[in-house]
């Protein structure tokens, strides 16, 4: 198991290296660039040349990449040119990473908390109203674009009803103490309950928007997996032993049905960043997604490079955790 984990971590190094090359080249192949973004259309030829040299963009791309890699290995990913000009990319990342993690965790917890039980119930009462509603509803959930849903939620619950805040991570005047950068956690740690509640209220709408697709996918996979398992001989064996329904459900049905569901949760967690870009944009939620969108607008190479590499690392790590959790659930994987 340890060897396996180490091998996977080693693979991660290769993935990150190749990805850094691709993203480096690809960003520079995009039309426009930080110089045009900073100076606009009306920058003089001279000013453009000067800025290009200053950013080191006049050098051959291999040289640029070599320098980038050298600095990156010592933890320096350069300074932001557009998102928060002058701040180091790392600083921006560290500032925003907790926001997106907080949002993603709430979203995935919502998706799992609703997706698995509802998927199970739909399968148990196959063809019933809950099943039909769930299947149609989850199809709609996957089909409706995230940004549209985000706007809809914002308009209804924030603008019309005024129940929840429309944007940001926390109300400005609260003067909350910062400890970890996770605002809800900070509030709990410092016993500033109002700050924690306020941060949580800010999370509800974006998390709901972000959770729809993972919820829909987890619901459908759970339903299908439970339907498969219910037909298995070992469930009939468990019934023939007269076990209670709760034992059969927990130990014999759900435990086996969880295998494909866990994979799905991993994939959906990894894919959350894509949804976070749109959701954070709509709710002006200062996380990675918003920075990524802004970074593309302003061709902020250092910020984009770092964020995309980190996103890929998180994706690979999440999937490693999924594969390892497989071994916990399924003994057949363990002995291999």
């Amino acid at each position: 198991m340890l060897r396996y984990t180490l091998r996977r971590l080693l693979q991660l190094v290769g993935v990150v290296l190749v990805l850094s090359m691709l993203i480096f080249g690809w960003l520079r192949a995009l039309p426009g660039g930080p110089v045009s973004a900073l100076l606009g259309e009306r920058g003089t030829e001279e000013a453009r040349r000067e800025l290009t040299a200053q950013l080191g963009l006049d050098q051959p791309i291999f040289v640029q990449y070599g320098k980038f890699l050298g600095r990156a290995l010592s933890g320096d990913f350069g300074a932001s040119t557009g998102v928060q000009p002058g701040d180091s990319a790392i600083e921006i990342f560290l500032q925003r990473f907790p926001a997106t993690v907080e949002l993603s965790v709430v979203a995935i917890v919502l998706a799992v908390l609703f997706g698995i039980p509802l998927g199970y119930l739909a399968a148990r009462r196959r063809g019933g109203w809950l099943d039909n509603l769930g299947v149609v509803g989850s199809l709609v959930g996957v089909a409706v674009p995230v940004f549209f849903l985000a706007f809809l939620l914002k308009y209804l619950f924030a603008v019309q009803l005024g129940w929840l805040p429309a944007s940001g991570r926390q109300t400005g005047g609260l003067d909350a103490t910062r400890v970890t950068g996770f605002f809800v956690l900070d509030g709990l740690l410092t016993r500033e309950w109002d700050a924690a509640a306020d941060a949580l209220a800010h999370l509800v709408l974006p998390a709901m928007a972000l959770a729809t697709i993972p919820f829909a996918v987890i619901f459908r996979i759970t339903r299908a997996a439970v339907l498969d398992v219910l037909d298995e001989d070992y469930v009939r064996t468990a019934e023939s032993k007269g076990l209670t329904t709760s034992v059969i459900r927990r130990r014999h049905v759900l435990r086996n049905a969880m295998l494909p569901v866990v994979t799905t949760i991993g994939l959906q967690t990894g894919a959350l960043l894509a949804g976070a870009v749109l959701t954070e944009k709509v709710f002006a939620f200062p996380g990675l997604g918003e920075a990524l969108a802004l970074g593309f607008e302003r061709r902020d190479y250092p910020v984009l490079q770092l964020m995309i590499i980190m996103a890929a690392m998180v994706y690979v790590l999440v999937n490693l955790v999924v594969d390892l959790s497989y071994a916990v659930i399924d003994p057949r994987v363990r002995t291999r």
Partner: protein, 328 residues
């Protein structure tokens, strides 16, 4: 009083958009305490559905069960799902056909045994583990303590079936139903498992319903044999009488299609022609008539009734006579 008294048991499957399908059509038989009774027939004859109906394991929706199943005088068919759940595993145990798929792949063998003990005998986990090791030992699993922590995929086919038998017998039920328990196993293992079952039911006084398509299995084990065709019992007799003198052409055909070591060399096996029809036409004559070498005109017109003759039950207009050569 019989331990189990099945009378006029019928199971009709009803699915939306499909005509109802009768799988079991008025089956009656009884099992005395400690007795071993065989239910024999081809696939589709209703033998497995009969056993599932007795166990209360048929789906609540879509399967209509009528008739009566009395266990120690108590009607099982009128019990609630919860009451039946209390009885399964405690009063009635069951062993299924495929031991690999019948075991939960992600749960250790030990827990799969102890969960029955915890449920019905209220044993705490630790005590149940000791008992489970003892049970595995009794069914001939070597090194049972180590096996408790192992998973089904780590056991051989024979071991798995032994473990399933241990689970079914854990609470010392008065009745064990074994549904083709050896079909998925190697021939050498088959004999071991049958010997084990015979030994266990003898030692514990458990009654056994043996469900099989293999008359060879019946020959070594059963006191009484019910031959099923098309959801009905067509012949019932004591084991020796049935083998010495099969009266129903179907039983005769089953016996004739088994290879025998004492048959003259070069003698051909006699197969039964055709296969079981999808729906069972017992309302227009005998269901076996289309495949029957003995069929007469009345066979396709009048449905044969169950008649008793010299201690056996027979449902046939033109039974096989002694020394009759049945044409293939």
């Amino acid at each position: 009083m019989a331990l189990l008294d099945v009378s006029d048991l019928s199971v009709v499957f009803q699915r939306r958009g499909e005509p109802p399908f009768t799988a079991v059509d008025g089956v009656s038989f009884s099992v005395e305490p400690g007795q071993t009774v065989g239910l024999v027939g081809e696939s589709g004859c209703g033998k497995s559905v009969t056993s599932l109906a007795i166990m209360g394991l048929l789906p609540r929706r879509g399967a209509v069960v009528t008739g009566s199943v009395r266990f120690e005088g108590a009607e099982l068919l009128s019990l609630s799902a919860r009451q039946m759940r209390d009885r399964r595993g405690r009063d009635l145990g069951m062993v299924f056909q495929d031991p690999l798929s019948s075991l939960n792949p992600v749960i250790a063998i030990g827990l799969q045994v102890t969960e029955v003990l915890e449920r019905h005998r209220g044993m705490p986990r630790r005590q149940a583990m000791v008992e489970a090791a003892d049970l595995l030992d009794k069914v001939g699993i070597p090194d049972p303590r180590r096996r408790l922590d192992e998973y089904p995929h780590q056991l051989s086919g024979g071991m798995r079936q032994r473990a399933l038998i241990a689970m079914a017998l854990a609470c010392r039920p008065r009745l064990l139903i074994a549904d083709e328990p050896t079909t998925a196993l190697d021939v050498t293992i088959q004999a071991q498992i049958l010997a084990l079952l015979a030994e266990l039911v003898r030692d514990t006084g458990t009654a056994l319903i043996m469900i099989t398509h293999d008359l060879g299995v019946v020959a070594g084990l059963c006191d009484e044999v019910n031959v099923l065709y098309g959801g009905r019992v067509v012949e019932r007799a004591r084991r020796h009488e049935l083998f010495r003198r099969p009266r129903h052409p179907y039983t005769h055909g089953l016996l004739a299609s088994i290879p025998r070591l004492d048959a003259p060399r070069g003698e051909r096996l006699v197969p039964i022609r055709g296969s079981v029809a999808d729906n069972i036409p017992w309302d227009h004559g005998c269901a076996f008539a289309p495949r029957c070498p003995n069929a007469l005109g009345t066979c396709v017109e009048v449905t044969p009734q169950m008649d008793e003759e010299d201690g056996r039950l027979l449902r046939c207009h033109n039974p096989v006579q002694e020394n009759q050569e049945v044409p293939a």
